[in-house]
């Protein structure tokens, strides 16, 4: 267990990004971890005076090991960039300080799913796109973890909704989660998908990963993939985690961060 990382602290522009980066670093999925928000991002003005989000991501079932690790970390302070003067605040507490929604739906899953579907419907209608929207929670793999709210869009000619490198779909997902999080008052992992695109893309990326790994083994050279988002890079790291011939790492700065597949030395 010693070489498996159980906890990371990540600072990124948004809580969402920090979580994605952290999951990538740990090689785990959202359902295998517990997320603690250490610092909420504070919006600056035109990039000035803002503060990044810092989250701590803990592998579920590793709390005991973490206690020791956290102590060692606190002593050395090597990973923590900002001084941790403020105590860690749970998500719900922080949200309560923000304006309360007119109607409290934070504990009603069906209401949250319905609300998310309505938000996406409203956005699409105002974008002049007619489509059917359905939302449901996906069961977590581990009952300690939160479910993911999955919003499906079905209809005809919806490729315009995906955009180049799923730019439009990601923008829609980002705006929709901001609105839902604000109304519900807590962070709910929300994914927006168009006609199964995200699942198809995940398949494609996995296959690409295996192909490029073969290439790396065959040629003995590192393979650099095209720039991808943190969640897409994570798919590759996970797909090749148990591969015998290669190791993977991410190189560069977002949005040009790329996965590199390195052949293992014998």
């Amino acid at each position: 267990m010693a070489d498996v990382k159980n906890v990371v602290e990540i600072t990124a522009q948004t809580v969402e990004q920090a979580i994605d980066e952290g999951l990538e670093a740990l090689g785990l999925t959202r359902t295998q971890v517990q997320v603690e928000i250490l610092e909420h991002p504070r919006p600056g003005f035109l990039g000035i005076g803002g503060r990044d989000a810092t989250v701590r991501i803990i592998r579920i079932g590793a709390e005991a090991e973490i206690a020791a690790e956290a102590e060692a970390k606190a002593a050395s302070q090597k990973k923590v960039e900002a001084p941790q003067a403020e105590p860690a605040q749970p998500v719900t507490q922080q949200a309560a300080a923000a304006e309360l929604p007119a109607e409290d739906i934070s504990n009603d899953k069906d209401a949250i799913a319905r609300y998310a579907a309505t938000v996406v419907e409203e956005l699409l209608e105002k974008m002049r796109i007619s489509a059917e929207v359905k939302a449901h929670f996906i069961d977590p793999e581990d009952d300690m973890d939160e479910e993911i709210l999955w919003v499906d869009i079905e209809g005809r000619d919806l490729s315009i909704l995906i955009g180049r490198r799923s730019e439009t779909l990601n923008a829609l997902q980002y705006i929709a989660s901001l609105i839902v999080n604000k109304q519900v008052g807590r962070l709910i992992p929300l994914m927006v998908d168009v006609q199964g695109y995200r699942q198809r893309r995940e398949q494609q990326i996995r296959q690409l990963a295996l192909r490029m790994a073969d290439q790396a083994v065959k040629t003995g050279r590192r393979q650099v993939l095209e720039p991808m988002s943190a969640s897409e890079r994570r798919i590759i790291h996970l797909a090749l985690r148990s591969h015998e011939g290669v190791t993977t790492e991410s190189v560069g700065e977002a949005p040009n961060r790329k996965v590199t597949i390195l052949p293992k030395r014998k």
């Binding site: 600056g44 923000a98 974008m127 730019e167 439009t168 705006i175």
Partner: protein, 77 residues
């Protein structure tokens, strides 16, 4: 297009009654000006302009549907 920005801005700010969107048309081009309360500026701009840029991406889809070009300006109070 105006309604898209109004909807998003009103849903994200603390003071929806202070949200104001103005639309100007010049042939094919549409200029949208978004104004919100000073304390809500960060919410509609976002870190590194992420919220504003996402709104622009969604606007582009709406504009393409009408064969128009649209630019969004977030105006300082």
């Amino acid at each position: 297009m105006k309604s898209l920005i109004e909807y998003i801005a009103c849903s994200l700010v603390d003071q929806p009654d202070k949200v104001d969107v103005k639309q100007q048309r010049n042939g094919n081009r549409i200029r949208l000006e978004l104004r919100v309360d000073k304390d809500d500026m960060g919410r509609v701009i976002g870190k590194s302009g992420r919220v504003a840029n996402s709104m622009r991406i969604l606007l582009r889809v709406a504009a393409a549907r009408e064969g128009k070009q649209v630019t969004l300006y977030v105006i300082e109070p």
